[in-house]
Structures are given as C-alpha cells and as structure tokens.
C-alpha cells in the first residue's frame, strides 16, 4: 500500500451532495410556484362573476331607459352614461358604456351599445347589444 492512499470513508462526496441539492431545488421550485399561483388566482372567479353582474345591471338600466316613456331611444347617448370608476359600492371595478354610430336597416335605426367592466387580474367583460328606434 502506498502512503498516499487515504482510507475512503463510506458516505457521499461533495459533488453528490451538490447534485442532490440542485435536483431537489429544481423539483421544489415549480411546486411552490403552483401553491403561490393558486392563492393569487383564487379571486378570479369572484371578480369575473361580479364583473358580469355589473355589466348585466347596466344593460338592464339601458333597456329600462330605452323603454321609458320619458327617456326613450334618443336618451341613449354617451353623455348620459359617463364612465364609472369605481362603480358605486364596488371598489376596483370600473364600468364604461360605448355607443357605435347608428346604422339603418329597412328603415329602422339600430344603435350598437357595449358595456365594459374592467377589474384587476381578469380580462375585461363586455356585453354588446342593439337597440332599435321603434
């Protein structure tokens, strides 16, 4: 036996340990990201539901105004529906009503109206409809 040979103790070498740590880190990182993502996304369903409700409620208001004997079709103009930011009692949600230029079909005037609700973390919710000048 040469004197230089050191008794090889049983166990892991440094390289092996580093390798284990790296592999473990690579495996744990996406897992922890998954958890973090879940808690961030947990409010999305609520936001989308409320946004849809707010858009629907505005549409109902427009329909009520269109059918009102004192307001009617001519009331449906941008000046009467200013942007709401935020919507009353709903902080974080803003709502706008957009009016496209009128089009005429078979002697009847159509007005395209879109209601958009914007809220953080989710795509904007837009409802579009036509109102006719009957």
């Amino acid at each position: 036996m040469s004197g230089r040979e050191v008794c090889r103790a049983a166990g892991f070498t440094l390289v092996e340990i580093v390798l284990i740590i790296v592999i473990a880190a690579v495996a744990i990182l996406p897992l922890s990201m998954l958890f973090a993502n879940t808690s961030i996304r947990s409010g999305d369903a609520r936001n989308a539901t409320i946004a849809a409700q707010l858009a629907q409620a505005k549409m109902e208001e427009l329909t009520a105004d269109k059918n009102s004997p004192t307001r009617g079709f001519s009331y449906l103009i941008a000046a009467n529906y200013p942007a709401e930011s935020p919507v009353t009692a709903f902080p974080g949600y803003s709502r706008t009503v957009a009016f496209a230029p009128d089009s005429v079909y078979d002697g009847v005037t159509f007005r395209t109206v879109g209601v958009t609700v914007v809220c953080p973390n989710i795509p904007p919710v837009t409802l579009t409809t036509w109102f006719t000048n009957y």
Partner: protein, 178 residues
C-alpha cells in the same frame, strides 16, 4: 490467532449510528417537516378560503338571478305591496303573493316567500339594499299598491358574510309589466 490473543482487545466499532449522527438526522428531519407542514397548512387555508368564497358566490348569483327573474313576473303597476330597502312584496301574474325579505341582522338569510311558504335564497346576508328607480332614472321612495306605482326599475345590492370573508353582488331588473 496468536496476534489477536496477545494484543489487548481493541474495542470493536459497533454497527449503528452514533449519537451526533442521530441528532443531526432529527434536526434535519424536523426542519424539513416544519417546512412541509407550513406549506400544507397554507394549502388547507387556501382551500377553506376558496370553499367559503365559492359557497357565497353560488348563493349570491342564485339570489340575484332569482330576484330579478321573479320581478319580471309582477302582475301590473298596482301589484307592488311592499318596497323597502330590505323587503319587496308583490302579486305575480299567477296571482301568487311573492316576497323577498331580510331581517336586517347581519348573518340572517334572504328569504323568498310564495303564498306563505318560505325558502332560503341566500345564507348569511351581511347587507342588503333594494333600490327603486323611476322612469326618469331617479332613486325614489316608491308609491305602493293600491295606487299606481312609480317603480320602473329595481336594483339589488347584497353582501354575504362567512367568518371574516365577504362577497358583494349586484343585480338589476327592469320590470316590464310596470
């Protein structure tokens, strides 16, 4: 053989772990356990939060939808008998007496009553406000039956509560028969 007998017996290394090794294992294992249990507890908390929110959203959605749909069945403009911030009662097209009511106490349910029999529309209401709008879009204290009502549109703001979590919702109904 001879050699073994002559030299004093050296203490043989027993197979097994030494005390320091064992201690290190315990310490490392407990650190790992703490890390994982924190992760697990967080996951459970998230689940509970989402579960409560899902329950409330379900109720809020159903109640808003139900109220606005029922409201479209109001018989005529002299059929609304009660219209306060927390109670709305009317006679519908099939002559049934219908009402939506909330006691005003946080945590109480929103009740739907038809011809005397009640059912729960939403559990744990924290705040509820029916608002009544005229043809001119003004919020007003409504004129009720037997007079001709001035209600043209109704909006419903509702906030549900579960523990410390709340969910607010909003609905509107243009009552076509008025």
């Amino acid at each position: 053989m001879v050699h073994e007998l002559l030299t004093p017996p050296r203490r043989r290394r027993e197979p097994g772990f030494t005390l320091p090794e064992l201690l290190i294992v315990i310490v490392v294992a407990s650190i790992v356990a703490v890390a994982f249990s924190t992760m697990f507890i967080e996951a459970v908390k998230t689940y509970q939060f989402m579960d409560a929110e899902k329950d409330m959203l379900e109720d809020a959605r159903y109640a808003e939808e139900r109220v606005s749909r029922e409201l479209k069945r109001v018989k005529d403009n002299t059929s609304i008998t009660t219209a306060s911030a927390t109670t709305l009662a009317f006679v519908d097209r099939s002559n049934a007496t219908v009402s939506f009511s909330w006691s005003g106490v946080s945590g109480a349910n929103l009740l739907y009553t038809k011809n005397g029999s009640s059912q729960t529309l939403a559990k744990g209401v924290d705040s509820l406000a029916f608002q009544y709008w005229t043809k001119n879009g003004a919020a007003a204290t409504p004129i009720l039956s037997p007079s001709t009502t001035d209600i043209w549109r109704v909006t419903i703001y509702m906030r549900l509560i579960k523990g410390s979590q709340t969910v607010a919702s909003f609905g509107a109904a243009f009552v076509r028969s008025l």
